[in-house]
């Protein structure tokens, strides 16, 4: 089969840009990367066949500059644009700008992005299609300066009931979201959400939604082609969230039996059909402990956590995105869509659990990825790279596949233990504390899991064994001190000392 496109521009950075470029390369499609000044030597910029310099580091001057990106695609002869996730991935105006410039936008049609992007419109559409939605209320758009009608907010909040969530109508990824418990002031929370939403998404409209008690976040990967076929590729359980940001994802969801999976999958496909969907998308549900589920929102893009679906299905979702965008039918039979085994993903963030999860900036003095059977790393950084304040602090995704859930947890913990990141703080030990928790092993996950089990001091995870760290540092110092730098660089390494003291089998050799 000849490649469906000759050249694709990848309008993103970091791990997702690398992910997309890899599949393009395997399909024989040339790639164009875009990079801000801070990213000229970043892995995604190196991996592509060409890289176009967009501008200064801030996203609004680079990765959000629709005009520059469209111009770069035209100048380099790209036929299609893959937006990744984040940045312009769910921006209907960008999808339209691509189409107007004669470029194929690898995603759903602009109207679908717009209708699903406005969360309140999406809720109405799903209600009309018979998909259950969480009780909620819309709010009028904020006035100039982000002010809201306080009385109206209070009335709407009281009608929805507490606890409730304030959410950005055009948001995603936990940004522009605030929890309001009974007795708290919904107006301050709503105004904070308006500010954050304005900054993050360029639109401050927010809405209210009833906050279910201990729900699970369960989403379905759906895929539709231009020939009327809509399928789902099973669910992902993403309940482990810190401040509404997913940090551990898995499939299958420990709480689903075949019947519930079938009903939720049918609802997801119905939602995609109602939206007129094309391409890869995700239908998010909240699943109550009793088994009732509610449409939460639909993400009109490839999801951060798509690797767990790729693990259990053995399929390449980016490949299918590209084929569908080229007008081809979905490349899978129904038999291809049967999941197998268990997959887990965790997100490695440059943040410091010991200091309130503040972003941790600086240079990656050492960066070594784990490997081994059933281990996958999707990273957008390399040793020596600088983690700057300009972009999302997620530096990599670590995912595993194994025969069952217990084996997958053990595999992920072993891989985390092999992951070496020095120079900045990460949440690796915190992730390990999640995976090691008995409630996680029991599959008792819900969106309040971290608050319930891993808040406060425990959040930091164990520090290294201080004695072992001192021994390691001292041995390293002793070798540093005795070998000149130049000699170590060019000549054979200082020989490993052959002492095995107590393990030598005396009398045998």
């Amino acid at each position: 089969m000849s490649a469906p496109f000759g050249k694709i521009l990848v309008a993103n950075r970091g791990e997702i840009a690398c992910r997309v470029i890899r599949t393009c390369r395997e399909m024989g499609i040339a790639t164009v990367a875009v990079a801000s000044e801070a990213d000229l030597a970043a892995p995604h910029a190196r991996l592509a066949d060409r890289t176009v310099h967009l501008g200064p580091p801030p996203p609004e001057a680079s990765y959000l500059r629709q005009d520059l990106i469209v111009a770069a695609a035209l100048a380099t002869g790209a036929e299609a644009v893959h937006p990744g996730y984040g940045f312009l991935a769910e921006n209907a105006a960008f999808a339209r700008a691509c189409a107007e410039a004669g470029l194929v936008f690898i995603g759903p049609p602009p109207d679908v992005i717009a209708s699903m992007g406005e969360k309140t419109a999406a809720r109405r559409l799903m209600e009309a299609a018979g998909v259950p939605v969480v009780p909620g209320a819309t709010l009028p758009p904020p006035g100039p300066g982000g002010s809201l009608d306080a009385a109206a907010v209070r009335a709407a909040a009281d009608a929805v009931g507490y606890p409730l969530l304030v959410k950005a109508a055009f948001g995603g990824g936990g940004k522009g979201m605030r929890l309001v418990e009974a007795g708290q002031d919904p107006v301050a929370a709503a105004e904070a959400a308006v500010r954050e939403a304005t900054g993050a998404f360029g639109d401050g409209t927010v809405y209210l939604e009833r906050c279910l008690l201990r729900p699970r976040h369960v989403e379905f990967q759906i895929f539709a082609d231009r020939h009327g076929r809509v399928v789902h590729l099973g669910e992902r359980e993403c309940s482990i969230q810190r401040r509404h940001q997913k940090i551990v994802e898995e499939t299958p969801c420990p709480a689903l039996d075949d019947g519930l999976r079938r009903r939720m999958g049918e609802a997801a496909v119905a939602a995609a059909r109602a939206a007129g969907y094309v391409g890869a998308g995700t239908v998010e549900f909240l699943l109550a402990p009793g088994g009732e589920f509610y449409f939460l929102e639909m993400n009109t893009r490839l999801q951060v956590e798509h690797p767990v679906t790729e693990w259990v299905t053995g399929l390449d979702l980016v490949r299918a995105q590209i084929l569908v965008a080229a007008g081809e039918p979905l490349p899978w039979s129904d038999a291809d869509l049967v999941p197998r085994g268990h997959a887990l993903e965790c997100r490695l963030y440059a943040e410091d659990p010991a200091h309130g999860f503040l972003p941790s900036l600086g240079r990656l003095l050492r960066y070594r990825e784990p490997s081994g059977p059933g281990v996958r790393v999707d990273a957008g950084v390399a040793e020596g790279d600088e983690i700057t304040r300009h972009y999302d602090p997620m530096i990599a995704k670590l995912s595993v596949h194994a025969e069952d859930r217990a084996a997958a947890i053990a595999r992920l913990r072993a891989a985390l233990r092999d992951y070496v990141v020095l120079g900045i703080a990460t949440n690796a030990a915190y992730l390990d504390a999640v995976l090691a928790h008995p409630a996680f092993a029991a599959g008792e996950t819900h969106t309040g899991f971290l608050q319930q089990h891993l808040s406060g001091e425990a959040a930091a995870g164990d520090a290294a064994d201080e004695t072992a760290a001192l021994v390691a540092a001292a041995l390293n110092e002793a070798v540093r001190g005795t070998a000149a730098d130049a000699a170590r660089r060019d000549a054979p390494a200082a020989p490993a000392a052959p002492a095995i003291g107590r393990f030598r089998l005396k009398g045998l050799d």
Binding site: L365, R389, H390, A429, A464, A472, A474, L475, P498, A499
Partner: protein, 171 residues
């Protein structure tokens, strides 16, 4: 080789001797059971009390960043440590400083306000996320160094916090 490290537990002294490929390591004067030593390119393998350990060590100034089997600790080598000490002394002063570069979104207190430990003082935006800076201790805001919209470098002073005359517990 005699080394002095500063760790979260305080000062620790480590002595390392090598003779004929056999390494002897003592910690604060106590001989440790260390064997099977290999060191190359900052990757350190050794057995401690009979259990094999895998460590990576990276150097930044006086800092020694050490990962041992998935856990990280940052140590400081004492004889290269003068600058770092001066820097740390500044942290104990009245200044509350920005712990990362970012932009001031909103000031929640003004000079003269009395605050309790944990009370939010400033909202910063960094890496596209809003972060609240909370009071590390109760006290009175003596001076505010920033205003909304200001771009901060790491370590820039935010505001000065003084002990208040009257305790503010229970408020």
């Amino acid at each position: 080789m005699h080394l002095e490290f500063r760790t979260p537990q305080g000062r620790r002294e480590v002595t390392v001797r090598e003779s004929g490929g056999v390494w002897r390591v003592s910690l604060d004067g106590r001989e440790l059971d260390v064997a099977a030593v290999s060191v190359r390119d900052g990757i350190v393998g050794f057995a401690l009390d009979g259990v094999q350990r895998r460590a990576h060590v990276a150097v930044r100034g006086a800092e020694r960043h050490v990962a041992v089997d998935g856990r990280v600790l940052v140590l400081r080598l004492a004889d290269e440590d003068r600058d770092d000490q001066a820097e740390e002394a500044a942290d104990t002063g009245p200044h509350l400083r920005a712990q990362l570069p970012g932009k001031v979104v909103k000031l929640l207190v003004a000079a003269g306000d009395v605050v309790t430990a944990g009370q939010p003082l400033v909202i910063l935006e960094a890496m596209k996320m809003e972060t609240e800076v909370a009071a590390p201790r109760g006290g009175r805001v003596a001076r505010v160094h920033v205003e909304a919209g200001r771009i901060l470098a790491m370590g820039d002073p935010l505001l000065d916090l003084e002990p208040d005359q009257e305790p503010v517990e229970g408020e």
